[in-house]
Symmetry: C2
Subunit: 377 residues, 2 copies
């Protein structure tokens, strides 16, 4: 693992998310954490800031960020929540509202989400609903949060019956990505993030897919240039899709981002979000979607193999475990996915590397068969 020291060099990469009055910029730069204070002072103009993080990230990145805010003249406290998906519950959400009121935050205040997807989702949801919505800024510290959660404004907490079941669309005012934060990210989390990076290649960009194939070793070795390029490109890809379809409308292209996720979410839900990281479940989901596409003759066996090979090279799974739930249970779980509309299953399937579409006509038996036939190891 590389050292956790901050590099001061490296030009800023900026991706603009075009959403009319809700447009914002994603800035990607090594060492950016220490500049968040001054950037915040110019982009958000908040009088009060509350930084929300967890007990793992707080000690590593929280203190430098708080210091950066202080030196920019912004008064802000740091709240450390318990780490893990457990923080996305009703109870923690309620305690965060309490803290916001205790701290005297008002409509001109700003929340800063410092952490992975859980912190971003929860903090974003509280920002979306505290006093009917206040500003928030994302400072993602995991690759997954950088390439996925930082774009699109999806915020949520979990309901006991549905992951992300309670939420809102609330765009951040800015996203600050310090690529140096990846230096201390556990290997397994890095790989999990790569699943989403690979996703962008498959759904809409064959050239990017080829780039990942060529640069996978550099990505896994945490080469700063390679990682920054992958983050920028992924954000640009998602920003383009979200810019055309902010609210995931019926028939809109935002649904394409769910490639690998219908199967993936079912795996996660069936296992109660234990055992697989999100990117790992999505990786298996992409393999299953590829297999289903193959059976429907939507794309060629060579293409399916190329995707599967890249997933495996990234250290991600394409098979289920022997101990995983029965195919019938996994199949049933796909129907509880939020993407279902009117009880109808939708699958995002590739028709080529770089091309995907939503299919509503997959017979249930065909989907079940894929679950039954996926190898287990």
């Amino acid at each position: 693992m590389n050292s956790a020291s901050h590099s001061d060099s490296g030009a800023a990469r900026v991706v603009r998310v075009e959403l009319g009055p809700r447009s914002y910029e994603i800035r990607i730069q090594p060492g950016l954490l220490l500049k968040v204070g001054q950037l915040l002072a110019t982009t958000v103009k908040a009088r009060r800031v509350l930084v929300v993080t967890d007990r793992n990230i707080g000690p590593v990145h929280g203190r430098p960020l708080a210091k950066a805010l202080q030196s920019a003249g912004i008064s802000g406290d740091l709240i450390e929540l318990p780490p893990g998906e457990g923080a996305k519950t009703w109870e923690v959400c309620k305690s965060l509202y309490d803290i916001c009121f205790d701290q005297g935050l008002d409509r001109s205040s700003c929340l800063v989400a410092l952490g992975g997807g859980v912190i971003g989702d929860l903090t974003g949801f509280v920002a979306a609903t505290f006093m009917r919505g206040i500003d928030f800024v994302q400072v993602p510290t995991t690759l997954l949060a950088m390439v996925d959660a930082s774009v699109g404004g999806k915020t949520a907490i979990d309901h006991p019956r549905s992951k992300n079941g309670i939420g809102a669309f609330h765009q951040p005012r800015a996203v600050f990505i310090d690529s140096d934060a990846l230096k201390t990210l556990p290997d397994r989390d890095l790989k999990s993030g790569l699943a989403e990076v690979i996703k962008y290649g498959v759904i809409e960009d064959a050239a990017f897919f080829a780039w990942i194939e060529q640069n996978l070793a550099a990505l896994l070795a945490r080469d700063p240039e390679a990682l920054s390029y992958a983050i920028e490109h992924s954000c640009r890809s998602k920003a383009r899709i979200v810019g055309e379809d902010e609210r995931e409308s019926e028939g809109g292209n935002r649904a394409l981002l769910n490639y690998g996720h219908t199967f993936g979410h079912a795996i996660e839900a069936c296992l109660n979000y234990q055992g697989y990281l999100h990117g790992e479940a999505v990786a298996i989901g992409m393999a299953l979607a590829g297999e289903l596409a193959l059976r429907r003759k939507l794309w060629k066996p060579e293409e399916a193999e190329r995707v599967e090979k890249l997933i495996l090279r990234a250290g991600l799974p394409t098979k289920l475990r022997l101990s995983d739930p029965a195919p019938e249970l996994l199949h049933a779980a796909t129907f509880s996915d939020k993407k279902t509309r009117g009880g109808q299953l939708r699958f995002v399937l590739p028709t080529a590397i770089g091309k995907t579409a939503v299919f509503k006509d997959v017979p249930e038996a065909e989907a079940l068969k894929v679950w039954q036939d996926v190898p287990r190891a």
Copy 2:
């Protein structure tokens, strides 16, 4: 009190709220409740509907509405919550999410809020956040909800520290106002609603103010024509203001709707929302704002008197009660209002009947003096 029977006559009045892709229509018509089914089938196209009401309104208006839905071929259940502001708590909100999941609602479902402001606020908030937002339709049954809550998309639940402290902007897909519902509305609630009607006259429409003066007796006698006109005009007024400033932006005109509300909310908050109906507190608030405007020489004594006289004729209070909290407590409560930004008080003050503006330069001592000098009886 008039009979509760439904009249089938009367042309529909339609007010369009222009909010781009979130535009919707308010339809005002006697007997409309029985037509909600067919209207819903054409405007919302929801596959599943859940009607949310309370135990007072359910038995009177819920059953006819449920029947109307059924005869239009819409499958929908009716949920009766406990009546009163207590329903706007975290706990009831949570139980409503549970019901939504239990009933198998999905993103294509629609919530129908049948009742007063509490039901509208709560149901709207759940619609705003269930699966990141689903459709909802308002069927207001109180005058206050018809002229105020039905326009503008403000939804919320209460936080122990702040009324409406947790909420979202979420526009309904349609508002159906059955003016016949007012036939069974208690007198005190009717008068409470009239406070908001008078408000529209003062803040932006001198001619409407004069119309209310001339037609107050008819309004109090529940003349259907007079009430329908007042509702239509109030909705049109609010729709115009909200159309220009959907999210109550800094410096926007939506703040004008808070005329009487900074003082009014302080009264309500200090008394823990007991003792005064919302319109009653707003009525006192309007009198106090008028007095403050007078002291600042913003308008003429004749104008202040004319407003006060109309408030009194409507059976609404302009004075505090002897038993109300001390002026200092009421004054302190104005600072906890959500309208505060960066700790700075803002007062919406009239400069003439039909003309108001936001003033940020009222010294604290001056505001306190108004609280101290308001008569108590």
